[in-house]
Symmetry: C2
Subunit: 232 residues, 2 copies
């Protein structure tokens, strides 16, 4: 299926698309208006691909509404969930900055709208507003760190520990509530932490039997003892 068949032009671009985004929303109103002029807005239905590995591209894609599943197919053809993009986050930087093809797939997880800005327009903006560069550099260096953290966990932690760390990451440091909502299906969660759905199911059961967590519903989990969870 061609990408053209998936995406639907939204017509006039929404201001939200720019004012929402950390890489742009520190600018003042007129500057954001200026940027708005240069972006294109598109919407995708659940399951549609924004781009796929192997495609060339010269746009940066910013999520406006909905969410995108970023995944890759490894050399042996198995799927690996890399990350989920929420509104305000961007993707496509590899193909954009290196003038190469995408290595990932980006798929709408729900009805999703995105904005796209071309390489030429973005470069012009970077020259005019260097603070945008800094924001993107910030985001990319964070992303390198996250990816390295994830990679290190694969080789040094057990599956149970990776699951526990994932739950703890969801909770965050500023945890008012101890109830986390899994933002992924079990299948995607399994892929993300590098295991199978069967093992996720078993390990959650073990954590529950050890009174470290309590399953409220299929996607809601109460963390009963975060400290012990991290000490597995």
């Amino acid at each position: 299926m061609d990408q053209r068949k998936d995406k639907h032009n939204c017509g006039i671009s929404h201001k939200g698309c720019i004012s929402l985004v950390p890489i742009f929303n520190h600018l003042d109103a007129e500057q954001m208006d200026e940027i708005m002029e240069t972006v294109q807005s598109w919407s995708f239905k659940k399951g549609e691909l924004v781009y796929r590995a192997g495609e060339k591209s010269d746009v940066l894609t910013i999520v406006n509404k909905g969410s995108l599943r970023i995944y890759r197919l490894s050399e042996s053809g198995k799927e690996q969930l890399v990350r989920v993009l929420k509104p305000g986050e961007f993707t496509g930087e590899l193909a954009l900055f290196n003038e190469t093809v995408h290595e990932n797939y980006a798929e709408a997880m729900e009805p999703t709208s995105v904005c796209q800005i071309t390489r030429a327009d973005l470069q012009a903006l970077l020259v005019k507003y260097p603070s945008i560069s800094l924001k993107i550099l910030q985001e990319l260096s964070t992303r390198v760190d996250q990816s390295e953290t994830q990679a290190a966990r694969f080789t040094t932690e057990s599956t149970e520990q990776r699951l526990a760390l994932y739950l703890s990451d969801l909770l965050g440091p500023d945890s008012e509530s101890s109830i986390v909502t899994l933002p992924l299906t079990k299948k995607d969660l399994a892929s993300y932490i590098g295991t199978t759905p069967e093992t996720v199911s078993r390990k959650l059961k073990e954590l529950e039997e050890a009174n470290l967590i309590e399953r409220i519903s299929s996607s809601k989990i109460k963390i009963l003892d975060e400290d012990k969870l991290l000490f597995l």
Copy 2:
């Protein structure tokens, strides 16, 4: 051991440090001279740390001569080799751009000299020469990709496949010779591909017995059949 005790000021900074580096060497001579004024040069003996996890820092570190082992300690305390920096490559971007602490350790693998540029100086340069931003964005997006590739391999490929892919990566696409030189000790290689030295030894033996490779010396390996190697 304090960082201050490890590093030794080289006095006048070397031009090499700047002219060598992809993020700067597209500028013209005067501009590079200008940048040289702002960088500090340091040298480290084998085993000394340029920085360690948990430290704050406001400098970008660029390798001039030698090499740096970038590694991290996971939540459970085990070491994971993230990458090896060669002359012209940089590190420290996370602490620099996000004003946070390092998550990695950077250790000299041999006598190594580096240049460092401060956040303030770098920001001024980014404003003055936006092309530098683009180079850094390029490098960081490549690094995100490499790290995601590595992470995906951990979860989707067997140890044998990861080793084979690593050897194939060493060979590169433009392979005149079919002999690769392992740039890492077996221990570091094992850490990098997420296994143990014992398993590396065994798998190399298996690959040799299958006539896919031939061990010339402890660090030199001849690839006999790259296609089969990738098809494991």
